[in-house]
């Protein structure tokens, strides 16, 4: 499966694996996730979001609100159309969906909104690859996982700022190549930091995070030496 297909199926997958997705799809997604750090990262973020939303308190709207909504709906349905439920059944799946009563808490709605936003961002970055905006230092966590991390980040950020200032003069191909490489490293860095957060003393993940920072430094150094 390609990243785009996996991203669009991730929500179904997280909702319960085989409720919406077929067995083949589930297998395809799981195979892809073991080989694609970027999609795995997205899945972890969505899972986190979902778990966080689940733990939020459920707020029940006051009865008066439901009464007002119900009255408003009834006022819009013309009586000559007959019972709304039957009309909707006749229009198939869409009708069935419309006939269902969905109730969401505010936190659930907020979580769903954030979820859709992540999907849109992931989709856009997948479709268009490198965008024109200056690259920012990609780091979702503010906590330090390595003793020297502040220093490393400051150094990289300083270099990246200087490069971003010159990037407008590059041709589109050069810019796209650079941003693609940077994004790949950033995605991996985010993923490895996430894993290190789960186990801060894991020497293997510490080594990986250091190696990725070093790779990023080398890439920025390349651009400087090439005088782009």
């Amino acid at each position: 499966m390609e990243c785009r297909a996996v991203v669009s199926s991730l929500s179904d997958y997280l909702d319960g694996r085989n409720i919406w997705a077929s067995d083949d799809e589930v297998e395809g997604i799981e195979t892809h996730l073991t080989n694609c750090p970027a999609c795995l990262n997205l899945k972890l973020e969505l899972s986190e979001l979902k778990n966080a939303a689940r733990e939020l308190p459920l707020h029940t709207p006051p009865l008066a609100l439901w009464t007002r909504i119900s009255n408003a709906i009834e006022a819009e349905v013309p009586s000559e159309n007959g019972p709304a439920r039957e009309t909707q059944n006749a229009s198939g799946w869409w009708g069935w969906l419309n006939s269902r009563k969905f109730t969401f808490s505010l936190p659930q709605l907020a979580a769903a909104g954030a979820f859709v936003a992540i999907l849109i961002v992931a989709g856009i970055s997948g479709i268009f690859g490198a965008n024109q905006a200056p690259l920012k230092f990609q780091d979702v966590r503010s906590g330090l996982l390595l003793p020297e991390e502040n220093e490393i980040k400051a150094n990289l950020e300083h270099r990246l700022d200087a490069i971003n200032a010159r990037k407008a003069q590059w041709d589109s191909q050069r810019r796209a190549d650079f941003e693609q490489n940077m994004n790949k490293i950033d995605e991996s860095l985010k993923l490895c930091r996430h894993m290190l957060e789960g186990n801060p003393n894991d020497a293997g993940h510490q080594e990986m995070v250091r190696a990725l920072y070093d790779e990023k430094r080398r890439l920025l150094e390349d651009v400087e030496r090439l005088k782009w």
């Binding site: 041709d171 190549d177 490489n181 293997g204 990986m208 790779e215 390349d222």
Partner: protein, 250 residues
């Protein structure tokens, strides 16, 4: 056919005077056009075998560096086949030779150096091939492979973002060898009696280290730290998305 210009050593002036004159100077490579439309360049620099140093910064194209017949000369042959890149070759007062390609275009280099030369090579897009040298080597490619073979060097640092990295050669006591690739394969081919401390790390690839019987300090599918012998040399292998192979030299 590549046209080679006379070496500065053929001049009646002393080498010291020559280097001094070039301390701040700039030498364009001599160019000749081939029937295919490619442009060939050549240049030779006198160097001291004890402290011969070469730096190449190339935008796109292959850089091949090997031990040349002359112990006191760096001979550069280059072919420009695409674009309109500008090639500059300079030598500073310490004798260090620097070749720099600017602008867009592909330039392939074949460079002969004294075996003891130190190298610092960068190609953004294209391979780097280094053979039969004994000096320190730093090779960096963003998109392309790195092959370092027949080495007898105490310091090798080869890394690429997209591409494979391979090293074969002696492992000297107190030597430091770093081979890295973000997304590519890393190969180290070492003598059976090599004495080294290994650190090998991969995020999503595999590792085949079975060619050497090692004493493992740490061993997981992502990180291995081990000793072969007493661990005199340091070998560091890393890839994020590729696999690592440690093999014995036949």
């Amino acid at each position: 056919m590549v046209k080679e210009t006379p070496s500065p050593t053929q001049s009646s002036k002393s080498v010291a005077k020559f280097l001094s004159a070039l301390a701040t100077g700039f030498l364009a490579l001599t160019a000749s056009a081939s029937p295919s439309g490619d442009q060939n360049f050549s240049r030779a620099f006198a160097v001291s075998p004890e402290r011969s140093e070469l730096e190449v910064v190339n935008q796109a194209g292959t850089i091949k560096v090997t031990a040349g017949a002359s112990p006191n000369k760096i001979v550069i042959n280059a072919r420009q086949s695409e674009g309109a890149a500008k090639i500059e070759a300079t030598q500073n007062a310490m004798g260090k030779v620097k070749i720099e390609v600017t602008g867009r275009g592909r330039v392939d280099f074949e460079i002969a150096v004294p075996a003891s030369s130190s190298l610092n090579l960068l190609s953004y897009q294209g391979a780097i091939v280094v053979t039969n040298l004994a000096g320190a080597v730093r090779a960096r490619v963003t998109d392309g492979d790195i092959q370092i073979a027949g080495m007898r060097s105490a310091k090798v640092d080869a890394s690429c973002t997209q591409g494979n990295v391979s090293f074969s050669g002696e492992v000297l006591p107190s030597g430091r060898y770093t081979l890295k690739s973000f997304s590519g394969r890393v190969d180290a081919i070492l003598p059976a009696d090599a004495d080294f401390k290994l650190s090998a790390s991969t995020f999503s690839g595999g590792m085949d280290l079975s060619a050497f019987q090692m004493k493992f300090d740490k061993r997981s599918h992502q990180l291995v730290e081990a000793l072969h012998g007493v661990g005199r040399a340091s070998i560091r292998l890393w890839t994020q998305e590729g696999s690592i192979y440690l093999r014995r030299k036949p």
